[in-house]
Symmetry: C2
Subunit: 397 residues, 2 copies
């Protein structure tokens, strides 16, 4: 069930049902997939006919009838070939946590829906056992938790970048403060100019690092923090509930199957007992009673078939939703990784830039140092500080 | 006076006297320079001869004799042409703080000892007046204070660099600490690797800045602090005392001249009075008395000449030492400027290096970010976390 809020999660515009259909088409393994709608319906009608047409009871010889008749006719304790066959058929599948799987080595080989892609839709069918206790986690939950963890990761990365910006701001502040120092401010001339520029260059460096910090904040930290926003978790929750609901429905259907199965067993037992009693004239039961018992048995069989059918429908629905939802999560994860990659690259770009700008702050210092000229400085200083050019002469008498 | 300790101050190996001689030779202006030793001696002997040869008194007509005779013979009050001449000669020079200079516009034009060089030896002959009070500072002191200030400058520059190293160490410490952060450590796969390297790169940056700090300390800060060491100030002090002593000697010589001048004036006055008295027969003074007075007068004249001679010798000595010492200080200043220039260039070299090394810490991060592969990461994660590949199948009756 896709809500309007989830539309942003749409991948390439392939409608959900078609994607499922595409899976099926790519893998024509209808014998192992829950049968498509049309198959189910056909099968159901067939069964219905065989059961309600009393007169054709003797005639019908399809497997189902045979199975049911054998439920009715066998003497207690005996095992008919048909029953044996049913027992064997049952043991090729197992229902775990209300989901029905083929047992290992049983049934036709299953091909991956998306071979060589390690796709989420291929690997998360079973529930994950909790090593400690009895609880287990649906495969879908594992996928969902990964997405939630991913959100946590981007938040932590953002925090890391934030810490970096703080370090840069501190560094810039210290450099700026030192650049204002009056140390050796009295140095004059070309040397004094070079020294003044050297001090100033610290302020230029500070500016570079401050700029770095600001860009880190706006181009890396903030985006990492706000990517996917708050609605993301809510959307994930919707997926969560949707899939959980389907599992609950499936569990409910399964419970009905179990109940119907038991009811049928009870009816069959009752019929068996009554038939035996008639044969040994142990009771005053009439053939009428047996017919009634037989009818109830048949009904129970019908009920069971209906329950199994409903169960299978629900399981198919869950299957379809699982494929869709897991593909969505897969896409989200690809997008998350690519988005983070892009923004971390922005980080390294800013680092490169910063080092280059920093280099350029040294150039004017180099230039002035090259111009340092002791002769020029002497001229400047002497002009400023000379006391007298006239040289002493001999005193006369 | 050059002590052994000062030998490190030696410039190009031109002996002191020769450098002085070189000044003289370049500027053949012996009429304005204190006369050379040989000149002084010749002049002195000449004067001696004229004064002790009594019989030639009448014959001698050199300026000096004429001057002295005129001291003896003139009637009081009258002004002879010779005396007038002496008065005029005296007014072409002035003695300020015991140093004798030609008055402005008087005497031959003085050429700079080292033209176009703004050399210390040309511009610090007079004392510097203290604008506030009556004291004055010898020109040499101004030069010396500049050197002491230079030492202070290098100390302050060293302190500045020290502050820079502290800032770098702090920055490195912060980066290193952050690089150990566990933030987003749970990110896996290729993205996790890139993130891990990004965090590590902060530690690499920290190493670069720590290295910068250490090199700043050993290659710039420490040398700036220890350049010329403690002995430098002591050596400057020696220069200081040496020149101060010479000035004291000069002052002492000048005092003697003044004293001799006064004594001569007294003798002349006495002779004059006695001669007058003889002429008007005012007293019983005999010619013998006059002869005695005349002799004393002559002696006083001799004394004065000797004092003036000694004064001029001392002034010459001071002159010579001034040229030498100021040239030394000039050389020291050139060396100081060049040495500082060299070490500040080392600073900029280290800055360049640091930015380059810093750039290189980003490269491995770039590389790993380029390798980020969502498909690979999915494969890795799915292999690790899959719950089951077997797909569900329809339940059978």
């Amino acid at each position: 069930m896709k809500t309007a809020a989830m539309t942003h999660l749409d991948g390439p515009s392939v409608p959900r049902r078609d994607r499922f259909a595409a899976c099926i088409i790519r893998n024509p393994v209808s014998s192992v997939l829950p049968r498509g709608e049309s198959d189910r319906q056909r099968s159901y009608h067939k069964r219905q006919k065989s059961l309600t047409n009393g007169s054709s009871r003797a005639r019908t010889s399809n497997t189902k009838s045979r199975q049911i008749e054998s439920f009715a006719a066998l003497p207690p304790g005996s095992v008919s070939p048909a029953k044996r066959q049913i027992k064997e058929v049952k043991e090729t599948k197992a229902t775990i946590n209300c989901v029905t799987f083929p047992l290992p080595g049983e049934g036709p080989e299953q091909q991956l829906l998306k071979p060589d892609e390690w796709s989420y839709c291929d690997y998360f069918w079973a529930d994950k056992k909790d090593p400690q206790g009895a609880t287990s986690l649906p495969g879908f939950e594992v996928l969902l938790q990964k997405q939630l963890k991913g959100k946590q990761m981007q938040k932590e990365m953002s925090e890391f970048i934030h810490e970096r910006t703080k370090i840069e701001e501190e560094y810039a502040k210290n450099l700026s403060k030192l650049s204002l120092s009056p140390l050796a401010a009295q140095e004059e001339g070309t040397l004094g100019e070079a020294w003044t520029q050297l001090k100033k260059s610290l302020h230029d460096e500070a500016e570079v690092h401050l700029k770095f910090a600001n860009k880190l904040h706006t181009e890396v930290e903030k985006p990492l923090l706000t990517f996917r926003g708050d609605h993301f978790k809510k959307d994930l929750k919707k997926y969560d509930h949707h899939m959980a609901d389907l599992r609950k429905q499936l569990a409910s259907r399964f419970a009905s199957v179990e109940k119907a199965r038991k009811a049928l067993a009870d009816r069959q037992k009752d019929l068996e007992v009554k038939t035996q009693q008639l044969e040994v004239k142990l009771s005053n039961k009439t053939e009428e009673d047996i017919k009634k018992a037989r009818r109830k048995s048949t009904q129970a069989g019908d009920d069971l078939m209906r329950c199994v059918d409903l169960y299978n429908q629900t399981q198919s629905k869950w299957f379809e939703e699982m494929v869709t939802a897991s593909m969505e999560l897969e896409k989200l994860e690809v997008e998350r990784i690519e988005w983070i990659q892009q923004h971390l690259r922005q980080y390294t770009t800013l680092r490169h830039e910063t080092d280059m700008f920093n280099q350029s702050t040294v150039e004017p210092v180099d230039q002035l140092l090259q111009n340092v000229d002791p002769s020029k400085d002497r001229e400047l200083w002497v002009k400023e500080n000379k006391t007298g050019e006239v040289r002493p002469v001999d005193m006369d008498i």
